[in-house]
Symmetry: C2
Subunit: 364 residues, 2 copies
């Protein structure tokens, strides 16, 4: 197992976390949303072009439910034609027989699937400094949902699908006072960091806010500079984590969630881990661990050690070049699949299934 799961952090804490969840069936919750930030040209790879980016989260959820999308033709792809990480997530859910639910934090395009509505609205461009409406209300509803679901599920894996989400994560981290500028990831092979920072600075200037000004105001950070996935995700964690362990399934976006949760309920961090992919952990252009360490030294970080370099198809092989990297809880669900099946499903079987599923998609 050691080479299938990259483990970063305090070894005892990691083993303790794994012990709590190994052999148990998780519930995967994917929190989706839209922010106009994701449609700024060059900011996100989650969609072939900015116009279609709005449809990506909905289409991802449809793929999980129906093995095909309903809101768009085909599946979400990057501008270069690389398929959505939902492909990985779906393989993990199928092989692990893992149940899943969709939570909408606030969306312009709603998925044609069952979904949990929290009364949120889609987010606006963060350069406006008015990013998210009613974040406290959405958080509170999410908290209630989390509390209820924690009485039913063994543990949760919470992922996200929101185009532009690494930019809104960076702006929230900066507002909260974390040194994250050179540490945030991107779905693009070349992280458009300068563009991200320009957008963020514009919003900060408009609101006359400086680095760290919201170090005690998580909801203000979300409302000014965040995205609608964030209060929903944080609320579910705060509501559920007292009873059950939670894997936050994602890259640097989940670092922003951890930072928000720390301010809302510091005890909530005890029962939490981050589950992601090798491509995030080994990314030379970002530093998930460097952000997390500033928030909480002890949170376990697990990474699924995929190697797509021998895949039959170029669309998958290029994941090794750092395109897409993560999303839709791909890393966390893969980890949960392996652990819940006590390694009956391993990286090899997952990769085979991903290849087969990709084959079906390109044939259609």
């Amino acid at each position: 197992m050691s080479n299938e799961l990259i483990q970063i952090g305090n070894p005892d804490r990691i083993q303790n976390f794994i012990k709590k969840i190994r052999g148990k069936k998780p519930l995967f919750i994917c929190v989706i949303g839209n922010t106009e930030t994701g449609k700024i040209s060059g900011i996100s790879a989650a969609g072939a072009n900015p116009e279609i980016t709005d449809f990506t989260p909905a289409a991802d959820m449809e793929y999980l439910h129906f093995n095909k999308c309903k809101s768009i033709k085909g599946v979400p792809i990057t501008p270069d034609g690389i398929p959505t990480p939902a492909l990985i997530t779906k393989a993990a859910l199928d092989l692990g027989d893992i149940p899943y639910m969709v939570v909408v934090g606030g969306a312009k395009i709603l998925p044609k699937t069952p979904y949990i509505d929290l009364g949120g609205s889609y987010g606006t461009d963060i350069s406006s400094g008015n990013a998210v409406k009613n974040s406290k209300d959405v958080f509170e509803k999410a908290r209630l949902f989390g509390e209820n679901i924690s009485k039913v599920a063994n543990y949760l894996v919470i992922g996200e699908s929101i185009a532009g989400g690494t930019t809104t994560a960076l702006s929230v981290l900066l507002a909260l006072g974390y040194d994250a500028s050179n540490k945030i990831s991107s779905s693009l092979p070349n992280n458009p960091l300068e563009l991200k920072l320009n957008i963020i600075n514009e919003g900060f200037k408009k609101k006359n806010v400086k680095f760290g000004d919201f170090k005690n105001q998580p909801f203000k950070a979300i409302e000014y500079f965040g995205d609608p996935m964030q209060p929903a995700c944080a609320g579910i964690v705060v509501g559920a984590v007292k009873r059950i362990p939670i894997i936050l399934a994602g890259g640097t976006q989940m670092a922003a969630i951890v930072a928000l949760i720390k301010l809302i309920d510091n005890n909530a961090l005890e029962n939490l881990a981050i589950g992601t992919t090798k491509w995030i952990i080994k990314d030379p252009q970002s530093d998930l661990l460097g952000i997390i360490k500033q928030i909480d030294q002890k949170i376990p970080i697990l990474g699924i050690n995929f190697n797509f370099s021998s895949m039959k198809y170029k669309g998958l092989r290029v994941y090794e070049e750092g395109i897409v990297k993560e999303g839709v809880g791909a890393g966390g669900t893969s980890i949960a699949c392996i652990l819940s099946t006590k390694n009956k499903i391993n990286v090899e079987k997952l990769q085979k299934k991903i290849e087969e599923d990709y084959e079906k998609i390109i044939r259609n």
Copy 2:
């Protein structure tokens, strides 16, 4: 226990069902919706007047989540001022520490709570013969939700809140060919059966449909003469019941669900019971057992043996006169509360809590 739970049906089948769920934590799912049928004057007691009736299901769900309603002042009451059965449900959920979720089949007024959206629309007056849109689509989404939740929950208790629901249940049962005209219940003390049948006949005439014409067409029965709670409720059952037992928590409305399910997936009935109240089972103006027997001889019917005659408050004592009787899964959640706590919570404790909660409501 025998005098706390009224048991009707095959004794072995009942004991077998109880054995499967006793000591286990359920998940309560309340399916809500609106139908314009509920606003026909004199048809429903779920609301002080027809205008406010639309708000009753949303307000019920808010009461479960927040101990108070947000969409209306106070709590839903009948035209005579009798409180909603959600009061009973809430007491059972609290004492049993039972988690709950709201599913919206199709609503005009959405609750200010987390809820699962299935893309349904609110229902129109069944006298039009065009009662529900997209019932198959809502059913299919509900089925997917049910399948997922069945991998997480031990068993489900599914209730409903939809004003006018006994009328739409009757019309569906008649369209499916069940002799239900003198057997359907009502939230009113004097069942307005003639009014119900007039409305139903108007719809049947408009569509040139006769008794039993849809005996093999469950979705047509819903679309012409049903309500939006029905496809959602049926879908969850069909999706979940292969893996876990389900209590359909309600009175004669749930008989219509059983009839629909029988046509959609006959095997689904094996793992099903009806959980309701004494007031439904002993109602001289309706005959739940008489309907159920026509559909399936073997389905266990359980009834919580409340006795409100010694309650301090008239608003509760009058339940004994057959007002309200059931709704919001009051009977089923009370049964689940007693069984899940292995009788640590009993009828007496439930009644005490209901009295206390009622006191809080009238004081506010």
